[in-house]
């Protein structure tokens, strides 16, 4: 039971990071019908920028809290500028092009970001200086560090805030209108270009925070880290129903927990034939099952034939 509780904690924290990144995929998909493959790499840029900021500030002897806030702030600014420029330069000119064109462009941008990062930061793993010695809290036999708790709570806060924002604010309503039909929304006086740019602002800023969380959590960053993270987050978005914000949250948390439980129990379940390195089989098996039974994902609704 203690082990199970611990695996649940492991999975929820991992899942909350997946969920944050998945939000970026799902929001852009919802509005543009585009899978923004560069999003994982924007998260990577956020992660590496925050490592650099922390390295600089820690050397200058700044207190940990200030360092963290500044690192998050700088990473957000960089990622937002990057996200909006990518949308403006790479996606907007292709908005009416066949769907495959922006998808390939997105992959191109993803590779561009990876190798630019390799040029700037080098291809080696970069260590994140340890800012705060993690203290351990014990809940129902499970060990939880204050950092894990902070990551989970902050992720929940951001996700709840985003849902509330989309539901209640004027911009949120414009986003939902653009999602349903950009042309009609435009006729009703919604500036769809602004709405789309704003979607990238939101997604990139949240991605930057997720990047900071990853380097805090694992203590290292790498120019290629966005690839796997992006793939997992994209899977989470599809699992929850791509285009649906609450679905991305559910999908992310679910994927994290499935992965964790699979790593923990796959060896025992298969009598040692499959080791924990096969955990992704479980995650993707669940994905296939969900898509077979409910092609739009767990919380996805059919948005007509527009997508």
């Amino acid at each position: 039971m203690e082990i199970f509780a611990q695996q649940l904690v492991n999975g929820l924290v991992l899942g909350s990071i997946y969920a944050l990144v998945a939000l970026g995929y799902t929001m852009v998909y919802g509005i543009l019908g585009l899978i923004n493959f560069a999003h994982g790499d924007i998260t990577m840029i956020g992660a590496l920028v925050s490592i650099t900021v922390v390295q600089l500030l820690a050397a200058a002897g700044m207190p940990a809290a200030v360092t963290l806030v500044l690192a998050g702030g700088v990473a957000m600014v960089v990622c937002v500028i990057l996200g909006v420029s990518i949308e403006r330069v790479a996606y907007r000119p292709l908005r009416r092009a066949p769907r495959l064109a922006p998808l390939i462009t997105a992959i191109g941008i993803s590779i561009l970001l990876q190798y630019s990062a390799a040029l700037i930061w080098g291809k080696q793993y970069i260590a994140m200086p340890e800012l705060i010695e993690p203290t351990r809290i014990s809940i129902a036999g499970a060990q939880l560090t204050d950092l894990q708790a902070a990551i989970f709570l902050l992720a929940c806060l951001i996700m709840a805030g985003l849902l509330w924002f989309i539901k209640t604010s004027r911009m949120g309503r414009a986003m939902r209108a653009t999602e349903q039909n950009p042309d009609v929304a435009g006729l009703m006086g919604v500036n769809t270009n602004t709405v789309i740019a704003f979607t990238f602002v939101l997604g990139s800023a949240i991605g930057a925070i997720a990047g900071l969380m990853v380097v805090l959590y694992y203590g290292l960053g790498h120019y290629f880290m966005g690839f796997m993270l992006g793939l997992k987050a994209f899977t989470a978005a599809v699992l929850g129903g791509i285009g649906n914000v609450a679905g991305a949250v559910l999908g992310g948390l679910l994927l994290g927990v499935i992965e964790s439980l699979a790593s923990g129990y796959i060896g025992d379940l298969t009598g040692g034939v499959l080791g924990s390195n096969y955990r992704d089989i479980f995650a993707f098996l669940v994905l296939v099952l969900v898509l077979v039974l409910k092609p739009s994902g767990l919380m996805g609704q059919h948005s007509g034939d527009r997508a």
Binding site: E2, I3, Q6, Q7, N10, L14, G33, I35, F37, R99, L100, L103, I104, I107, S110, I111, Q114, A118, G122, K123, Q124, Y125, A127, E130, E133, P134, R136, Q143, T145, Q148, Y218, G219, L220, H222, M225, F227, M228, L231, V238, I242, E259, S260, L261, A262, S263, G264, Y265, G267, G272, G275, S276, N277, R279, L291, P295, S296, G297, G300, D305, A307
Partner: protein
């Protein structure tokens, strides 16, 4: 529509992976000036990862090779009565088995006389077939997977102890010095990591110590909490990891965070400064074996370390002395054969009896280093400190 777009996505992903797979090559050194008539120009290949997460170790090897070649050129060596000039051809295998074969073919095509490399066992093994077919001798400075020299090739040598020696040495150390009773074993599913872990596990069982868990991860992962949580339930007093530092460092960190009090031990892949840098305070008490003597205790160590630092402005990472000696072993064999023709000097390599930086070098009939020592290190006060040096053959005899 959804399924349709997903199919596109899959296709695009594969395309993306293919594109990403075509990394850049390290720029090959410029062609040397045309040699004087009585000069013999001898090319020596160096193959190791010069980019990627293991670049720091690969560059270290290349630096060792470069240093040896410069020293050999200053020494005005004559081979078969002709003045010899040595030249390095350095290639980047990205620690990737597929890339390693491409690089091997490139070196063969460049007509190198001999190759120092590769770093990873997973790269050395596939590449060795290409060198063997071309009749070019290969000395790996660092590949410790036993299979490397067990393929029946006459061209494969190594100047490190292998995992069938390293793994058991670690296991005997765990049994005798650490008095371990319950051991958990994790590997990174690579030829090196799994080979090391398998050899360790085998000897541990022979010592009648219980292996309470055997887990696998990959060499890309950074989240081991799920595996470690499972292992925690098995209550080990020692966790052994077969793998390299980008995994070992987060692993020990997460171990401490989960409140696992077991010891942590691994092979040479995690005995790096980077391990301590990434893991921070959590690295304290971690143990790792490394083939060879501590670099300060090598017979030619102090002089080499100083020379290396003066030349490259940084400390020796790991395998530079082995890379250096590998070149010297080749040159020694060429001198004795009076030829730089691989067909002529290859038989001489097997008869090597050379006093290198790392100590006496001689090979057995498979090409393995005879009686290579293994040293076990522990992290103390933020640095790797030598704990115990074992000669594998002596240890095996004394068990």
């Amino acid at each position: 529509m959804q399924m349709h777009s997903l199919r596109h996505t899959a296709a695009a992903l594969i395309t993306g992976a293919l594109i990403a797979g075509c990394g850049q090559d390290a720029p090959a050194p410029k062609a040397a000036a045309p040699a004087a008539p009585q000069m013999l120009t001898i090319k020596i290949g160096s193959a190791s990862p010069l980019t990627g997460p293991q670049a720091h170790i690969g560059v270290d090897i290349r630096n060792g090779v470069q240093l040896a070649i410069e020293d050999a050129n200053t020494a005005n060596i004559e081979i078969g009565g002709k003045k010899a000039r040595f030249e390095m051809v350095a290639e980047d295998d990205e620690a990737n088995p597929t890339k390693a074969t491409t690089v091997a073919q490139k070196l063969v095509d460049a007509k190198v006389a001999a190759v120092v490399g590769h770093f990873n066992s997973g790269a050395s093994i596939p590449a060795s077939k290409i060198y063997s077919d071309a009749g070019i001798p290969q000395i790996s400075p660092s590949s410790t997977n036993p299979k490397y020299t067990q393929q029946g090739f006459k061209t494969t040598f190594r100047v490190v102890a292998h995992d069938d020696q390293q793994g058991p040495t670690l296991a005997r150390f765990a049994a005798k010095t650490l008095q371990a009773k319950r051991v958990a074993v994790i590997d990174d599913s690579t030829a090196y990591g799994q080979g090391l872990a398998d050899a360790f596990e085998k000897t541990i069982k022979e010592q009648n110590i219980e292996v309470v868990a055997r887990e696998h991860t990959t060499d890309k992962d950074t989240d081991f909490r799920a595996i470690l949580t499972k292992i925690k339930g098995n209550k080990p007093d020692l966790i052994m990891f077969g793998g390299i530092d980008p995994q070992a460092a987060p692993m020990i960190k997460q171990m401490k965070e989960l409140g696992i009090k077991a010891g942590f031990i691994g092979g040479d892949g995690m005995q790096t400064p980077n391990f301590i840098k990434i893991a921070g305070d959590a690295s304290d008490g971690a143990m790792a074996s490394i083939p060879g003597l501590p670099k300060e205790q090598m017979p030619g160590g102090t002089a080499f370390l100083e020379k290396y630092k003066a030349k490259f402005g940084q400390e020796v990472e790991l395998f530079a002395p082995m890379g250096y000696d590998a070149v010297m072993v080749f040159i020694d064999a060429m001198k004795r054969a009076g030829s730089a023709d691989p067909a002529k000097f290859l038989p001489e390599i097997g008869k090597t009896n050379y006093q290198g930086v790392i100590g006496p070098i001689a090979f057995d009939d498979k090409g393995d280093l005879v009686n290579g020592p293994i040293t076990i290190y522990v992290v103390k006060d933020g640095a790797w400190k030598p704990l115990e040096t074992v000669k594998p053959d002596a240890a095996a005899a004394g068990k």
